[in-house]
């Protein structure tokens, strides 16, 4: 690798100084790396270059002497001579800026970009200072809302093509385009079609002027009264690196950081604009205890002592598994560790689950060889048997899309439903459970029943042992029980031992929960109850003797009256558990429900005791993303009222039981995690905050994980909002945002953790029921904007929550005699019914009805029942 690079180096001179650069690298980048900043507007390091703004003109020596050339479009070559500062260059820059300002309004004081605007900054630094144009400026209607989230002010647009290029090339939905020609050019959407992209916020972030502004940030603050801290988004399991910015103890916005291994600077809108929910006035701000039908505020002390006595009572019955804990996706690694330690180390119950019927068993996740995102997007081939990634983990979709677009990998999808991955796939195969089994067993064999898939894999050079194959594994169709997916993965991993798996479940930090024992039968470091390390046994005095219950078993136990005390820590089963009917009836039957929550969700509003928790950006800690990468999550604002971080609540409860969990800060917990978990050896707060590791460290830490490239310097024009707050000043030649620190070796204590092998977990294929007569197959999936406390408490995002509709193909509709807009009655297995408006969609297969999870919550109706391997529903005209 290094020899390749050195062979490829070319020597060129910039302003008389010799520098070395990689051959083929763009001049603008090579110059920036050597410390010469060339002004630019249209160039963005994550977009293909177009060379339209002409701001980066420099003098380059050619056969006829020096001439002006755009440095963003010019690859470096051997012996190139470049002048970036001369009369001629200055004149060109003056001219470009004078031209750009002909029509650009001077309403900087009202503009949200004012103070962090590349046009403002570069005009000050490189501009002529005055204009010869006194003519009337071009006028458009001032900001028009092109979506619920984005405002467009066409007067300010300088036609740099960044947003349109992003929408077309990166996001793949060109909903905004240049309209018109010449000085009438505008960026706009198609009439009456909103800019309803999941990635629209990125166009706001990269806009070099104030043409695109975000509705949630509109007029909220100015750059000079913002402060920021780096963190990781916890809206899904991707863990995108973000800058959290706040003003006056109120969150104002998140901006995507360019992290090479994770998000490339992009965010989805749900993550980006979710901060509004944290500022919501409907937060739970003090402990509340149920009195009859309503809540009464109480003190922490009395709430905690009540919990203490409840735990003692439940344990007095002799069976600690009468106490259960359900962990939600809000929790950091430290929160999870503290609660798991409370449960398994102090109380002695193993009934801890972090998945609500929509995940995969912890043992299975732990047994499968793990792939990183980078490995996935550069694999020879990717096999996707997962939910629609665009709807669940949008930024992973961008990464995958970019890789496929650039030919780095090829995608094969397997599943029951059509999804946005189909467009990217070479082959997309529709399977039944039996076919999935066949596929898992003989996917690479010549005799395969799926010749198209094997053909793609063999063409891509995937070995017969799965070498070079990465499987994206998730819940493709929630109407299929997780056991089918688990069996598929285990079977596949057995027949292709070298294939790696990227678990694409959506819940934030699901991976941390598995790694830290937040699922039944596992302990921190993915060890099982039997294989607990001595150091863990020493720290966790009261380890449970036998495996506990998962969410489903806990609910069934509750129905039998065997659950006395249930903690819902950031978890809302009434809304989120797949079989909502089971969750509802079970929760009504639990002795005492304690909900640790940020809002009064469906579950917490019917709990017996509600404790206020600190939300994201109100606490520090770490999170683990889907590939096992651990990042820091930082505090930016103070919690309202009496909210506390979840881990402190666990510690306090332990104190009520006269036990000390033994930590006083999130850093202490991380240190303890590194001590007891073989998977996390070598991890420390110090290491994670070193510049080289800001993009996180994949656990277990290996030598390759440590050779992370230092974060590239921050291009202030690519990410204007971040650099301006960082600098609070004028653009300099280079913003050295992070020094290129190196990271030390993991230390001698490091030893390879015991990886559970696939051989130890037996694939058990459930018996798929025969489709009952008169029923239809169910396609049950998520959309990005489903009902959920976080979205419903965000004023802007809540407008985007999907409508409850059922989708069937036109052929099926004809058979039913129904038309678009008709009302259909959908009945589940237990006879629960609900009415849905029909939408005809021919991407849905015949004989399938598609429902969107989280778009409805009808009492009595749950299309998916937890005791069915495959769910069918009855559909008829209402």
């Amino acid at each position: 690798m290094s020899t390749d690079e050195s062979q490829n180096l070319v020597t060129l001179s910039i302003d008389g100084r010799e520098i070395k650069a990689k051959g083929g690298e763009l001049l603008i980048e090579a110059a920036e790396k050597s410390g010469v900043f060339i002004p630019r507007f249209c160039y963005h390091n994550r977009l293909p270059q177009v060379g339209v703004c002409r701001m980066c003109l420099v003098e380059v020596k050619g056969p006829r002497g020096f001439s002006l050339q755009p440095s963003c479009y010019l690859p470096v070559s051997e012996g190139m001579e470049v002048i970036t500062q001369s009369e001629k260059v200055k004149k060109a820059q003056d001219g470009v800026l004078e031209f750009l300002l002909i029509n650009h309004p001077l309403d900087c004081p009202t503009c949200d970009k004012g103070g962090e605007c590349p046009l403002q900054d570069q005009t000050l630094t490189y501009g002529p200072g005055e204009s010869r144009f006194a003519e009337e400026k071009r006028h458009w209607e001032k900001p028009i809302a092109i979506s619920e989230l984005v405002f467009l002010d066409r007067e300010r647009c300088i036609q740099c093509d960044r947003c349109t290029r992003f929408a077309d090339v990166v996001a793949g939905d060109a909903l905004i385009e240049f309209i018109g020609r010449g000085d009438h050019t505008e960026v706009n959407v198609f009439p009456d079609r909103p800019f309803s992209s999941y990635f629209s916020g990125n166009t706001v972030q990269i806009c070099p002027v104030g043409a695109l502004t975000a509705a949630p940030y509109r007029f909220k603050a100015r750059p000079w009264d913002l402060s920021q801290v780096e963190s990781s988004c916890m809206a899904c399991s991707m863990g995108c690196r973000i800058m959290v910015q706040s003003s006056q103890n109120g969150l104002t916005r998140y901006l995507g950081l360019d992290s090479d291994s994770v998000n490339h600077g992009w965010l989805c809108d749900k993550g980006r604009f979710g901060f509004e929910a944290i500022n919501s006035a409907d937060r739970v701000t003090s402990p509340m205890i149920r009195k009859g039908d309503s809540f009464v505020e109480t003190s922490w002390a009395s709430a905690l002592s009540l919990i203490g006595s409840k735990i003692v009572d439940a344990k007095a019955s002799g069976d600690p598994s009468r106490i259960g804990i359900m962990l939600g996706s809000r929790l950091t690694n430290e929160d999870i560790y503290a609660w798991v330690k409370l449960a398994k180390g102090v109380i002695g119950t193993d009934s801890v689950d972090s998945q609500l019927g929509d995940g995969l068993r912890g043992e299975v996740i732990a047994a499968l060889p793990r792939a990183t995102v980078n490995e996935a997007v550069s694999a020879k081939a990717v096999l996707a048997f997962t939910g629609d990634i665009k709807e669940e983990i949008p930024v992973l979709f961008l990464r995958l899309r970019e890789a496929i677009r650039n030919g780095r990998t090829k995608l094969v999808t397997v599943g029951t439903r059509s999804s946005s991955l189909d467009k990217l796939s070479e082959v997309s195969a529709r399977v039944t459970p039996d076919q999935a089994r066949l596929l898992a067993m003989e996917v690479t064999k010549d005799s395969s029943k799926f010749p198209e898939i094997s053909a793609v894999l063999s063409k891509q050079g995937v070995g017969a042992d799965g070498e070079g194959l990465v499987v994206l594994l998730g819940r493709e169709n929630l109407a299929w029980d997780q056991s089918i997916v688990e069996a598929f993965a285990l079977e596949l991993s057995r027949s292709l031992p070298k294939a790696k798996f990227l678990i694409t479940l959506r819940g934030s930090n699901f991976s941390g929960a598995v790694d830290l024992g937040g699922v039944p039968r596992l302990l921190p470091g993915r060890s099982s109850l039997e294989t607990a390390t001595p150091v863990l046994r020493q720290k966790w005095a009261n380890l449970p003797a036998q495996g506990g219950r998962g969410a489903k078993e806990m609910f069934n136990a509750a129905l039998r009256g065997e659950l006395d005390l249930l903690f819902l820590v950031g978890s809302d089963p009434r809304q989120d558990y797949l079989d909502s009917e089971l969750a509802n009836s079970a929760l009504d039957n639990v002795g005492f429900v304690v909900s640790v929550d940020t809002y009064l969700s469906r579950s917490s509003s019917s709990a017996d005791l509600v404790l206020p928790a600190a939300a994201f950006a109100e606490k520090a800690g770490t999170t683990t993303n889907l590939e096992g990468r651990v990042f820091t999550v930082n505090q930016k604002v103070t919690s309202p009222g009496l909210c506390r971080p979840d881990w402190t609540i666990a510690s306090e409860i332990a104190l009520e039981l006269e036990e000390d969990l033994g930590f006083g800060s999130a850093e202490d917990i991380l240190d303890e995690i590194a001590e007891v978990s073989p998977l996390h050896w070598g991890l420390s707060w110090h290491r994670l905050t070193k510049s080289a590791a800001l993009d996180g460290v994949v656990v277990p830490i290996t030598a390759t994980a440590l050779s992370i490239r230092p974060r590239a310097m921050l291009d202030q024009i690519s990410t204007p909002g971040i650099a301006s707050v960082w600098n609070q000043g004028l653009p300099s030649s280079k913003t050295s945002y992070f020094d290129d620190g190196t990271i030390e070796e993991p230390g001698s204590a490091s030893q390879p953790p015991a990886q559970a092998s696939v051989a130890s977990v037996e694939p058990i294929w459930p018996v798929a029921p025969v489709q009952p007569l008169g029923t239809m197959r169910l396609g049950y999936s998520r959309k990005l904007y489903g009902q959920g406390e976080h979205l419903m408490n965000s004023p802007h995002l809540s407008k985007l929550i999907v409508e409850a509709k059922c989708r069937i193909s036109s052929k099926t509709a004809k058979e039913l005699g129904a038309e678009m807009g008709d009302s259909l009655r959908v009945a589940d297995k237990a006879g629960g019914e609900s009415l849905f408006e029909l939408e005809i969609d021919d991407s849905v297969g015949d004989g399938i009805v598609e429902l969107i999870r989280g778009s409805f919550s009808n009492p009595g109706f749950s299309p998916v029942r937890s005791d069915e391997a495959v769910n069918y529903v009855k559909v008829e005209r209402a």
Binding site: T110, G114, A134, E135, E136, P143, R222
Partner: protein
Amino acid sequence: MAVFDALGGFKVTIGQVFQPRVTKQYPEEKRKKPPRFHGRHVLNRYEDGSEKCIGCELCAGVCPAGCIYVRGKDNPPDAPVSPGERYGYVYEINFLRCIHCDLCVEACPTEAITETKVLEFSFTSRRDAIYTKKELVVNNDGTPKRLPWEDWRVGDDEFTSGWMRATSPQGSKDFEGRTHWSGELGEGVRKPEAGQSDLKSEDASPRYMIRKVEADRISKRHGGKVR
């Protein structure tokens, strides 16, 4: 001689006896304030009554004492508070911190904030020291609010600002493109100085005519409407 030496020592003192007195009978009697005296702030209005403040927070950004707190908001479309998209929704000055350096006045792009010469105002609680929009915005006729706890004297509201051009007054056509002074509090009354043309006056700049013709042509090409 010793007596004369002693008297010589009192030379300056004795000389002062015959000088006019500088001590004033404050507060009954007050000195005239210098022309550029910096006193308590006001937030001005345009002639049509709309507020000049657009909530841009430049004053807050430049304030060395950090005593200004501003928050902007979208102008309500049916009843705009100020011209343009944005108005100052919250505007607070903490006069316990203010050092009356006038940098806010210099930073203000619309001359919304100016300083009067009122110097005497005191409070009995810290909270009262924070002036909000209620106290700061001038009356509809452009005169400052004279608050009961302030001691206003003649001339305290005169000669407080530089000149400005109305950026784009809302509403009435009569105010379109007019250059005027905001020399006094509130509305502009002074005539433009030499070189600052009043676009409505007889000697209008020919450039304006070109601009107007161009603008008409542009809108004509588009069938008279702007998409």
